[in-house]
């Protein structure tokens, strides 16, 4: 059997052999079938549905929709509403990545140094908690804390600055609030991923380093960090794919027309244009633009990672 891996037997890919193999594995295909049906209907049909971005979609009689080529993509970049939205998206997602990315790595390294198991477990429990709570709930808490009159944070801020501020309607403070609340909610989940990677490191490496006289700091720099580098790179690749995903749920729950100027992102824009205003073709074009850019970005970063370091997600 092992030899067949290197040297495929004669006629390995002839239709007769393929058919024989498929018959042998018919029960595996049986297990696979519902999954395939699911992916075709719920994942590939919407992708196929993207064709309406090249049409003037008529929602009352879809079959009468006419092909219009790139019209809606041209509209996207000539209307004065989309480009600011694109800039907001990149700005918010970029800041979230830049500020949110290092924290989990640092926290995981520090958490690894906690030796008391009970303390470690308790700290982990609290750290991950916000990740499992929906943005509806988190937004409820954020709105409570930032309420212009009764909010606990508002009152502290007004004592510190001497003037009352409403963070939720302030175009300068809204984006920092988004980033802080996002880091708050997701930092623990990021930590767990690196922490899992760290706990997979062979303890003998540390023992050997300790015998050689390497202190904790040196062990961290020369063993831990290099060992979790592949995980860091994979996370970075996945996060770049999200660069146009500035966080629909969060922003949708917290924004108001007063802050659209700084907080409107592609997904919220698509929602308002598509679902609320029923401009289906145009909003699909906006969404498709986002999907394509994200796809190209992931592939590019993955390729760079592969070339330079042999770390990639595929």
């Amino acid at each position: 059997m092992a030899a067949s891996k290197e040297k495929k037997p004669k006629g390995f890919n002839s239709p007769a052999v393929i058919w024989k193999d498929m018959k042998r594995d018919r029960w595996l295909y049986f297990l696979l079938l519902p999954g395939i049906v699911f992916f075709v209907i719920f994942k590939y049909m919407p992708i196929f549905g993207l064709r309406i971005a090249f049409m003037d979609y008529n929602q009352y009689a879809p079959e009468t929709s006419t092909w219009v080529g790139m019209k809606h993509f041209v509209r996207l970049f000539t209307t004065n509403s989309f480009v600011p939205v694109l800039i907001n998206t990149i700005k918010i997602a970029g800041l979230k990545l830049l500020i949110g990315f290092p924290f989990p790595v640092i926290l995981a390294l520090m958490l690894n140094e906690v030796t008391n198991m009970k303390f470690k477990k308790a700290a982990q429990t609290f750290l991950y908690l916000p990740h499992f709570v929906s943005w509806v709930i988190m937004a409820g808490i954020v709105m409570n804390l930032l309420d212009p009159t009764t909010g606990a944070i508002t009152q502290v801020l007004s004592k510190l600055t001497g003037s009352s501020v409403n963070v939720l309607t302030d175009t300068k403070l809204f984006v920092p609030m988004l980033i802080i609340s996002d880091v708050y909610k997701e930092v623990g989940w990021g930590t767990i991923i690196y922490f899992a990677a760290i706990s997979g490191i062979d303890p003998q490496l540390y023992e050997a380093a300790a015998i050689d006289g390497a202190g904790k700091w040196k062990q961290c720099l020369n063993i831990t960090l290099p060992s979790i580098k592949p995980t860091i790179i994979i996370m970075l690749i996945m996060n770049t794919g999200n660069i146009l995903n500035a966080g629909f749920d969060q922003i949708f729950m917290l924004y108001t027309p007063t802050v659209y100027k700084v907080a409107d992102i592609i997904d919220t824009y698509v929602f308002r244009m598509g679902i609320v205003k029923a401009d289906y073709s145009f909003s699909t074009a906006a969404g498709m633009f986002k999907s394509i850019v994200a796809f190209i970005l992931v592939c590019t970063v993955n390729e760079i990672a592969k070339r330079t370091d042999n770390d990639s997600i595929w």
């Binding site: 029960w27 049909m45 549905g49 926290l107 708050y184 202190g215 679902i275 986002k290």
Partner: protein
């Protein structure tokens, strides 16, 4: 110092900076834990406090004037109950069905001998990188006549590419010997999957159950997209409505939100947040032990 180290045997000598770091580290994580829990605690305490105190605002580290009027009013809203019912039904069906379908698919794809398995895996992976988008998904549901039907909250989320990858890499790590000996006894792949593989995979299945359950329970957007009738809304949408349209939402339930009835919009909001958070807090400790395991399996390259 030296004597101490000798008796400790293998203990590694700790320098003073390291000791300082250790103390700092413990203090740091204590502080982080407090920061993580305090907003939830504050909202809970506020929801149980007297209206006059809540109107003053500020931080609630303890109950100021204990009463449960907020909760007796929140629960008067029938939408809270229908929201819970929908969310529980959707979460149960979606989680169990989704996990089963994910596991079945992942098991078949974990067999290197499966013809077209690699191509199918690439097609699954592709859906993780490329998404049809909100509007095409909405139009699909419309064509399937699922608008305003609770199945619209369940079906689109059943299987995710990520979960398939996680399960597949777990199944790949199970030794082939189980399968081979069962095959000698004349079992087919379906029997092997249900009788042998599933019992062997409890931990990773629990992880997928957790991921799915959290996803379904927290899902808000599907309701907004697909459901019109308020009595079919899932809990998150009901909660959202109570947070943004507090007065109207409660008025429909026959509750006048004003200080004289001992509730304000603020306490109703705080109470609703607590009501929606508690179910998560209750099951959270039981499922927590599976997080690390699941993440570690997921960390393996797909």
């Amino acid at each position: 110092m030296a004597a101490k180290n000798k008796t400790a045997g293998t203990a590694i000598k700790k320098s003073t900076p390291e000791k300082v770091f250790t103390i700092f580290n413990y203090a740091f994580f204590t502080l982080i834990s407090i920061i993580m829990i305090i907003p939830f605690w504050h909202v809970l305490m506020m929801s149980l406090s007297d209206v006059n105190e809540t109107m003053k605002g500020g931080i609630f580290l303890y109950v100021k004037g204990f009463n449960v009027d907020t909760y007796s009013q929140v629960f008067k809203n029938p939408m809270i109950w229908t929201g819970f019912a929908t969310a529980i039904g959707v979460t149960l069906i979606g989680t169990l069905g989704g996990t089963l379908l994910t596991a079945m698919m992942a098991y078949a794809l974990s067999k290197p001998r499966l013809r077209f398995g690699k191509v199918l895996m690439v097609l699954v992976l592709f859906t993780m990188l490329f998404y049809g988008g909100t509007v095409p998904s909405y139009l699909l549901m419309k064509n399937l006549r699922l608008i305003d039907n609770r199945w619209a909250l369940i079906l689109p989320g059943l299987i995710s590419a990520y979960n398939v990858i996680v399960m597949r890499s777990f199944f790949s790590s199970i030794s082939d010997s189980f399968e081979e000996s069962a095959k000698l006894d004349g079992a087919n792949d379906v029997t092997i999957f249900f009788r042998i593989i599933i019992p062997l995979s409890k931990a990773s299945i629990a992880t997928i159950v957790l991921f799915n359950a959290v996803m379904y329970w927290n899902d808000y957007f599907s309701t907004v997209l697909y459901i019109n009738s308020t009595d079919k809304w899932a809990l998150q949408a009901v909660l959202r409505n109570m947070l943004t349209n507090t007065q109207q939402a409660m008025q429909q339930a026959g509750v006048n939100v004003r200080a004289s009835s001992n509730v304000t919009a603020e306490t109703i909001k705080a109470g609703s947040v607590v009501v929606a958070t508690v179910p998560i807090l209750i099951i959270y400790p039981f499922l927590q032990k599976y997080f690390v395991k699941g993440v570690m399996i997921g960390g393996v390259k797909g």
